[in-house]
Symmetry: C2
Subunit: 112 residues, 2 copies
Amino acid sequence: MPRSQPLNDQALEIVARRFAVLAEPMRLRLIQALFDGEKNVTELTVLTGGTQANISRHLQTLIAAHILARRKDGLQVFYRISDPTIPKLCELVCGSLEKSLKKQAGHLNPSR
Amino acid sequence: MPRSQPLNDQALEIVARRFAVLAEPMRLRLIQALFDGEKNVTELTVLTGGTQANISRHLQTLIAAHILARRKDGLQVFYRISDPTIPKLCELVCGSLEKSLKKQAGHLNPSR
DNA sequence: CAAGTATATACGCATTTGCTCATATATTAA
DNA sequence: TTAATATATGAGCAAATGCGTATATACTTG
């Protein structure tokens, strides 16, 4: 979000949509599972502990958002992270999460 | 999101919730409006073109997420960005948005 | 205290979204 | 072609969420 000029309505909707796609624990789990390389739907279903239908749906959502890409090989479809900003984004949020947890711990156990 | 160990369920929910808070155009507009310093509710209501009730609600959401902080001065309440990762996050998403728009433009107007 | 201003909140409604179950669509193999 | 496997999708339901209207709360001033 550039500081110079505010985003117009359409751009804001696109940015908001992008955040919305990342706003589901199951989708974050899928992204996490793909950090170390591509996996097919069955593998992802097992890894995340979801139903096949639900995992497939979330994968379509991530594809539509251009966060993942797919490669078909016979019966199987392999998914991988296609947007390089995604890992950075996740790390940024995670870092701030860790910080606030530390701060909380500090408040629970003050120095005096 | 650290690559070493996957986040547990609770951490995933917290991260997802953080993204969800950023997944509303009106809240992004508020954040944008606060990039150049604190503003009170009336100012924000005028700048964003929302109703007072709605703006107030969104501000409470952003406060609960520790993205904004508030300062009361008499009748007025001033809000400001309190989480330093927010501008970085927005820039990251915006940058990727610009890139994909350029790519799209490129496809619409190929070199040959 | 009464009136006026700034902000927050309760309520109800409409929309969106995630989930499950069942089924459809490939693709491969017999 | 038939059966089996992997993935995608349609239908319906329940929960979450955003918004407007009206009202409540807090603070200031006369």
